[in-house]
Symmetry: C2
Subunit: 453 residues, 2 copies
């Protein structure tokens, strides 16, 4: 039995804390244990639960290549199936199965359980997952599912419609998405289950679909031909066409933390960050990632979130509207977390003929950048804190607080953090930000030095 | 007849938009005319109304010396009586009267009307003020007042208690501050008026009080001895002790914009700045001075204000609590407006042994700084936009986008903006911000040049 954590998605429903560069599953807003005050991301919480369930050795995380650095900065070096492009969930499932066979020792006869990265649940969830293999064999189903026993008539979830009960599993006849509250009550009376997005397949059954699109079944081959796969969901391509579905039931605690409403209710504190919550507030949670304080007076049933991308004030129950409301906003992320450190945009000024970008950059001790140059911008760096080394056109320069360096167009440079290294980087030119990065070598030790200054 | 606009006060009740460096009366949140979309400050609106009433030639603005630059940047060169220290309203009234005699041609027999800078009212308010001189002469009162005819039983205002009516004025028997709603109704039935903070005195009667404290009656003399005056209010020192008070009535529209509740209700739009207001919001106003968007969903009766100093989310009717809630916050203003331009703090990082401050500075075309140096910090400047000139240790340097300059400790420097000049200034050292500025000369033309680079 193998497991796949599907960690794609851009998390637009959790604006402004999540963005393309840091989707919701990497936001540090939950805790590993109920009474802990130490915050972690949803990914870190789920990974810890997988480890405790003893499933770590058989689990791969599937995510876009742009999220590799972030996953490694949060988890170390877990197995990752990297999606070179977005191809919706059908492509992600195919690539995950290919990775399991090519790199984790799975065979085509083995079963894989695919699950979303953002359930907020308890340890028994993972124990229940383990029984899916037995159900697949016993039922002969094409797809195995896990349904959550509803604890209230939720209108925001999808429901699985039960058929015949066969001992420890249920036949599933179909699905119904987000019913009204009355309909949800009827469904629950009829034994329907919440669809928590978990499914189990036999790896070979899935991999043979790759050939239909002219894509090889091995991971490296599929990676190279990934663009050939259609942009369709697993639900559409496989689940809805399957004639035989079987589900096990999970009766424990489970919530989807994909919306502000759900997330705010699971925080074990009302405030995160610099927040002044007046005593007149009721049922109000505030998350502030900015350096300036947020004061809330008389808030009732509110979620307030402030981050480098923007500020949200939303009444609970309506926070889902954030995705539509913010759809037209510029996509440039104001805060980015990378394997090597963080980038915070402080200012972004465009005038005719010249663009500028001012960022505060922290690099973790010992981390390095590639050796690269920019064709269309100058960069002016000023060190705020700690120590680092710059290699500029082959010369090594020590960087300390107050040191400033101008890196002109076409000058090759690389940086290494020694200790607590923070600096301000100002881009001035016609290409600013994460574009116009022309790499010569990725490895610090391969840079040729002319001088040591 | 002379007029005084009392423009003191730090505006803590309008946090985060107003701060010590930019009190509420200078915030650009109102409009000059009802249907105009062009925003102006309360000071600019009132000054325009004074001009329209033909009172401009006889009006002085009284404010702290730290507000001179701000007033000039908003109004040009109006007469200003500058308070060298804070001495509450009694001192401000004395200094205003001294200025009227020393610089505006008033005699001690003349009358002066003193009024707050932040009423939100209509033109007839100023016409009504003009009748105070006649009332003073007719009644022989020590202090003349103007009362607003109440339009509802407000609990947030003070009331004047009427005595006998004498033709076109009322004798006033006393005052009652912020009554409950029931009491307010009783007061209104009894003919009480809202106290809008306007009073009229004979200049000589006030000026003779200065001598009691050993302070000269002329403006320059009083300015130099200002510290000798007690920190007490005009209400306490004069009004409450006066045996004879007479008031005229103003029946037009008047509101005190000193709180968020009042201010939000007078905005002629629900949003100022980058704001996404969802259609589910009701009676909600949002002012955003930040560069990042504020999205509000399902807000009911809310005021949301975001500025460089912080973010406020408050239910209307409770916004008054902001002053207490934010009392413990650091006083450093994140946005400052000066005569010569603006200062925006982007980052503020302190580590043991070294403090840093990153600010974006705009200087208006043609404006200059003093020639000065810093003992305990380096400054690294990077030009973002426009052109300027730097004099560094007697050398003149042209500043253009992408140009970076390190100004080390003890290096004398001055800057002049030529056109659209904006730059990032990073302070690194043990003294950052508005301290450690050691001036050699204030005038650009007096700086001795060694070279023109």
């Amino acid at each position: 039995m193998y497991y796949v954590l599907l960690s794609g998605g851009s998390g637009k429903r959790l604006w402004p804390l999540s963005n393309e560069a840091r989707p919701k599953q990497y936001m540090k807003v939950v805790t590993k244990e109920a009474n802990s005050m130490e915050r972690c991301s949803m990914l870190q919480r789920v990974w810890e639960q997988i480890r405790e369930a003893g499933m770590e050795e058989h689990t791969v995380i599937t995510a876009g290549t742009d999220q590799m650095e972030l996953i490694r900065s949060q988890l170390g070096e877990p197995p990752i199936a990297a999606e070179p492009a977005r191809r919706d969930t059908f492509g992600a499932v195919l690539l995950s199965c290919a990775y399991l066979c090519s790199h984790m020792g799975a065979s085509e006869e083995d079963y894989a359980v695919l699950m979303p990265v953002d359930p907020y649940t308890e340890g028994s969830y993972f124990e229940t997952l383990k029984s899916l293999e037995g159900i697949m064999k016993k039922s002969g189903a094409q797809v195995g599912l896990m349904g959550v026993v509803p604890s209230y008539p939720a209108v925001k979830y999808g429901y699985m419609l039960p058929g015949e009960r066969k001992g420890d599993y249920l036949e599933i006849q179909g699905f119904e998405e987000k019913p009204g509250e009355e309909r949800a009550k009827e469904l629950i009376e009829g034994g329907a289950l919440w669809n928590c997005g978990v499914f189990c397949v036999q790896i070979g059954e899935i991999l043979k679909r790759a050939l239909e699109y002219g894509v090889p079944k091995d991971y490296e081959g599929m990676f190279r031909s990934y663009e050939k796969l259609p942009k369709i969901s697993f639900d559409y391509e496989v689940l809805e066409k399957a004639r035989h579905l079987a589900a096990i039931e999970f009766g424990g605690f489970w919530r989807d933390l994909g919306t502000w409403d759900a997330l705010a209710d699971q925080m074990n504190t009302d405030t995160i960050g610099k927040v002044l919550l007046d005593e007149t507030c009721e049922n109000t949670q505030v998350i502030n990632e900015l350096n300036i304080p947020v004061a809330v007076i008389g808030g009732r049933d509110l979620v307030v979130a402030a981050a480098q991308d923007g500020i949200l004030v939303a009444e609970k129950g309506k926070a889902d509207r954030v995705r539509g409301l913010t759809a037209g906003l510029s996509a440039r992320a104001m805060f980015e977390e990378r394997r090597w450190g963080t980038l915070e945009t402080l200012d972004d000024t465009e005038t005719p003929g010249v663009s500028t970008l001012t960022r505060k950059i922290r690099i973790y001790d010992g981390k390095t950048s590639s050796y690269h140059y920019h064709k269309d911008r100058d960069e002016i760096w000023t060190v705020l804190n700690g120590t680092g080394e710059l290699i500029l056109e082959g010369n090594k320069i020590l960087l300390e607080p107050g040191k400033a360096v101008c890196i002109r167009k076409n000058q090759r440079h690389a940086v290494k953090a020694l200790k607590n290294f923070e600096y301000i980087e100002i881009h001035v030119g016609t290409s600013v930000g994460n574009q116009d990065i022309n790499r010569i070598t990725f490895e610090w030790d391969e840079i040729e030095l002319s001088h040591i200054l």
